[in-house]
């Protein structure tokens, strides 16, 4: 770790190609049936439980879970193929995305046998949505600044505190909460633990937070002395921060970290093909080269995961570049397409409006670029 980030390229094989063809056929069928229209950022904001169940039925959720827990014993690289096809299509996958990406690996690794039995098969069927209660009011990027407390009481834990910017809590079947079980806020990383809380639950109030696009994707989740069972503790008491950090690497490592605006880019590519504007063509070529490279990097990260190498630094680096790419796609299209963005517009104007309004989130979610760059700098040994 002294010269550069080691990230050898990976080549997908013939099996991946067949799997990709299967996913494309499925998506073509869904598009033909009109079950969805391609949307930007759909993995964050477009939830369709029926669509998720259909994916689950095909074995495309919980792919890397053991079959004993309803999974499919497939490699992170096979999961990568399915994931990138869904993202490229702008498919409505938000109902299962967080559960599949973060919570399934976390519960598999840290969960009790009972928790595994309870949640993993349901996640793999596409029937269990998860939310993650992490950020707190006034904490900004400082995720360790946790004021929510969990106090051991008779027969369980009593949780009190407020989480904000919680994606999908309004339709989630469960929420994972990071809370302080021991010590004081000055201890920062020490003394934090994770809990799984089924929703809805008494003492847990979910209020919508509308974002600048006027939509309701995120929530404020208020725990007022909500009592949960003893066995809702996830993993080890006091090890919450370590568990969360491992989840974050998963959160940052997927192709969604550069692909949120690919549906807009694909629509614009068609537009350019019809227009024949040399200036637009060249910039389309430029975005294509960047996307090609980001895909190769993302694939390398998936290969590292598959080999059990922790991709924390590489994932942070890819997300840093990827979120800039997502924003540059929006900027390039708006600058060259010669159309005014329009909310709910029928074509490129609607996709563009949605992408512009979501663009601040590209670099805020999953760690700001400053935070990501600190992770990379630390990885280079300079801190």
């Amino acid at each position: 770790m002294t010269t550069s980030i080691h990230l050898p390229p990976h080549r997908l094989g013939e099996a991946a190609r067949r799997l990709r063809d299967d996913v494309r056929s499925f998506l073509d069928g869904e598009l033909a049936a009109g079950t969805f229209v391609p949307r930007c950022d759909a993995w964050m904001s477009v939830a369709d439980p029926a669509f998720s169940r259909r994916l689950g039925a095909r074995g495309w959720i919980g792919m890397t879970l053991p079959s004993a827990y309803g999974g499919h014993d497939r490699s992170p690289l096979e999961r990568f193929v399915v994931t990138e096809e869904l993202l490229a299509a702008g498919a409505p996958v938000a109902a299962h995305w967080i559960a599949d990406r973060q919570m399934a690996p976390s519960i598999l690794r840290h969960g009790s046998p009972a928790q595994r039995e309870r949640y993993l098969p349901a996640i793999a069927r596409g029937e269990c949505s998860f939310a993650i209660g992490m950020s707190e009011p006034d904490a900004g990027s400082d995720l360790a600044s946790v004021r929510t407390r969990a106090r051991q009481v008779d027969g369980g834990w009593e949780i009190t505190g407020t989480k904000v910017w919680t994606t999908g809590a309004h339709f989630a079947h469960a929420i994972v909460v990071l809370a302080r079980t021991d010590g004081s806020p000055a201890d920062r990383h020490a003394g934090l633990s994770q809990f799984i809380v089924d929703l809805p639950a008494p003492g847990v109030e979910i209020r919508p937070i509308r974002t600048i696009d006027g939509e309701h994707h995120v929530n404020e989740v208020i725990f007022e002395a909500a009592v949960v069972a003893e066995d809702s503790l996830l993993g080890e008491r006091g090890a919450g921060w370590r568990q969360v950090t491992a989840e974050l690497a998963h959160e940052r490592s997927g192709p969604e970290r550069y692909m949120s605006t690919v549906p807009l880019l694909r629509a614009w590519a068609e537009h350019v093909r019809q227009q024949g504007d040399a200036s637009a063509e060249r910039e389309l070529g430029g975005l294509t080269a960047r996307a090609w490279t980001l895909r190769q990097m993302s694939l390398s990260v998936a290969a590292a995961l598959a080999e059990g190498r922790p991709p924390e630094i590489a994932a942070a680096l890819v997300k840093d570049l990827g979120s800039r790419f997502e924003a540059d796609v929006v900027e390039t299209v708006r600058r060259l397409a010669g159309i005014e963005p329009r909310k709910n517009g029928p074509g490129l104007d609607g996709l563009l409006a949605e992408a512009i309004l979501h663009s601040p989130a590209f670099t805020l979610r999953g760690g700001s670029n400053e935070i990501l760059r600190s992770v990379v700098a630390r990885g280079l040994g300079v801190r």
């Binding site: 400082d142 006027g214 708006r334 309004l357 601040p360």
Partner: protein, 341 residues
Amino acid sequence: MNDDPRAEIRATVTAIVDRRGEDRTGRAWKELSEGGFHLIGVPEEAGGSGGGLGELSVVVDVAAFHAVPVPVAETAFLAGWLLARAGLSVPAGMTVASLDEAIGHRQDGVLRLSGRLRVPWARHAGHVVTMVRCAEENLVAVIPGDAGVDLVTAENLAGEPRDLLVLDGVAAAASAAAPPGLDAAALLRRGALARSVQLAAAARAVLVSARRHVTEREQFGRPLARFQAVQQHLAALAAQVTAMQVSAQAAVAAVEHGDADAAVAVAAAKATTSAGARQVAAIGHQLHGALGYSSEHHLGAVTTRLWAWREEFGNESHWHDHLAAALHDRAWWPLLTGDAG
């Protein structure tokens, strides 16, 4: 903008628009129009409130800075200007301008208008002014708002009305010949100047808000303003905002003084303010964190305007092409200094 009448206008308009509470927009518009601020810069003989482009820019600047959705740019900057240029009088009530030309034909001495016209704020307007192509003539005409025209509502990214009027032989309430030089390009340039002032003002609002946020908020146990990366972002933001302000103000001054190269100034200003909007909004959101992404925070009201206004009346690509075309006939450096060469 430091001479006295302008400072007084700034103070008065600020007092009107810088308020919270119920029906903020309606009350602001009522007071602005009662005070004649919606027709400032339009000569009194044309039914306006008098004053120059400098005064008008102050009103538009303040309204944009506070992100209050009132159509001062549309009434005074565009509609009033069109009417005054054509020697027509401004009707009472809210009069806004069409971005597109109508097709006119005369029937029994009556001018009848047809076409699909983009008209911001049409839904609220008492009258709409439009340029008209009628046989070989270029006209300016007034359409009454209650003339039974079809209106399709739409909004820009900031939720401001961007309506479509569908005319099918509607009788004009008044009309006059357009003077030489008053054409679609002149209207586009006039709108571009207005949006340049608005973009610069909205950018300044982002800077003010970001500065306050980073000095008031703490993270990792110290004020955000103490982080070097935050300071660097804030300074880059200030640089961009200042560039936008200087370009908009210089363009206003060039048009106000009737400079020969005012068209270059407006093109450069709209290009600069449109291109700067991205970085200003991006740094603003980055510095505010998730908080600024909530619809309850003031930031979104200005950033969505930055994103909407940069495309209106030509985005930077449009004006870059325009400047490049101007360079076909003039050498680069004389174009920049506004000299014959």
